[in-house]
Homo-oligomer: 285 residues x 2
């Protein structure tokens, strides 16, 4: 082996991985001691496969029980391995509840979190009869929030529209005890903004639609923004549901935003209805 | 308490339960020693609630991993309990992967299996890329058969149509070692016919359609018939997929039926794609 070959081999390549997971059986994305997490499983899988175990950086954290249709992670590897082989090998060693959809070598400047320009989340609500609070169909139970208050789609949509634009979403951020001191880290979906520890985010699109799954009628919220604070999507949903069932007036939303106080907004909707739908990057910037 | 009241209390009422379950974590419907089954969980729940533990009779057995959107069971109870309370109480004590959708008192002549007039099953196939055999999206993994051969919907439908009508489906029945001696019992979905140990069944409707789930394109087979032999739906699907991918000619199907030999038909499709969709009864007969 020549010296230049050896040097080339020691140089790392930057990988971008797109992955999908069922969050039910994980303690969220982020590595934690003694707990099964998606990031931890992915790191361990890389270690088994290539003998290198870099900590994959996700586009953002997902909480326990939150699912991902297309999460993105980036990490450096010294090993030279064709992308298709890396996908296949990872999928053989990872649990079936985590699947790698795509792998590619990207410029060193790419970072799954810092380079993200937009993210889309989806939240699925199953309207059920008031008396039927234990009746979520088992085949949907991991993936929907069964909701027993009557909901008006028009009101839900009015609430969703009120979130659009650039706002300080502090009222919709989790009141983690350590949020103030490490906003950048506890941010569920930190983007460029979080480096400055602001709670200002821009929501580009925010809408509810009716869908049918397994013959059941679902109300699905889809929200696209430049970044989301910890619990932000679940808090937007909890507040929109308050409006949709007539408990709160839609006119309250500007006041909730202005309050910059978590207590002003509605409850946090459960994790299991939430899906990280996709992360967008602009490679030309 | 008068003697007549006491006598009335000792008289059993016949209950009909409609239930939904995710079959992934059960060893099928039928009670088995040391194994977690849907029938066993339901019997134990009744025992905890009302101190009576009749063995609920299902409309038919479902195998390990097979799901039910609306299975029907019947059983006698001495306890007098309002139907809505029974539903609520059962759903509080049953695991979340089994939900009772409805309960009602029915005439004593009703039997979930013997009284069934038609059943509908659904089978969900996820077409995936040939090289992507490990890439079933985690949120669909419990509920679809990821299939990597290219499929032609027109051919699938031609195969499905060839199953319609009254036929001897022995070629599509599981070759259980004890099938010959206890056809009535091993029958997955025994109806009146199985009392006579025939393998003749009538398929009323049999069709494939395209559906979208979580942004993924699915091919869904729905079959309605007066009864189904053990593994019959999964064997019909396995054979239709052989036709749909061009491995088998649709003209073979009449010959497969005529052979009355399991070896003549295609493979058994996996359990996880199969759903018992509904069971129909005619209460006027």
């Amino acid at each position: 082996m020549t010296e230049s070959t050896q040097a080339a081999l020691q140089q790392t390549q930057n990988w971008k991985l797109t992955l999908s997971y069922d969050g039910t059986d994980f303690h969220g994305w982020q590595v934690q001691p003694e707990k099964r997490t998606v990031q931890g499983e992915l790191q361990a899988a890389l270690g088994r496969l290539v003998g290198e175990a870099p900590l994959p950086q996700g586009s953002g954290r997902t909480d326990a029980g939150v699912h991902a249709l297309a999460q993105v992670a980036s990490f450096p590897l010294q090993a030279r391995i064709p992308a298709a082989n890396l996908v296949r090998a990872l999928n053989r060693t990872l649990p079936g509840s985590i699947r790698v959809l795509e792998a590619c070598v990207v410029p060193d400047s790419f970072h799954a979190r810092h380079s993200a320009e937009a993210k889309t989340y989806e939240y699925r609500v199953l309207p059920i009869e008031p008396a039927a609070d234990q009746m979520c169909p088992p085949v949907l139970a991991r993936y929907v929030y069964p909701y027993s208050w009557g909901l008006n789609l028009g009101l839900l949509q009015r609430a969703a529209t009120a979130f659009v634009g650039e706002h300080d979403f502090r009222s919709f951020a989790a009141t983690d005890p350590d949020l103030a001191t490490r906003a950048g880290e506890t941010d569920a979906d930190a983007t460029v903004q979080t480096e400055t520890r602001t709670t200002v985010r821009t929501i580009f699109a925010s809408e509810w639609q009716e869908q049918t799954a397994d013959g059941f009628h679902l109300l699905v919220y889809r929200v696209r923004g430049n970044g989301f604070l910890h619990h932000m999507v679940r808090n937007l949903v909890g507040t929109a549901l308050d409006v949709g069932r007539g408990y709160r007036n839609v006119e309250e939303i500007p006041k909730i935003l202005a309050a910059r106080d978590r207590a002003a907004a509605g409850p946090t909707a459960p994790a299991r209805g939430l899906f990280l739908h996709s992360v967008e990057y602009d490679f030309n910037s």
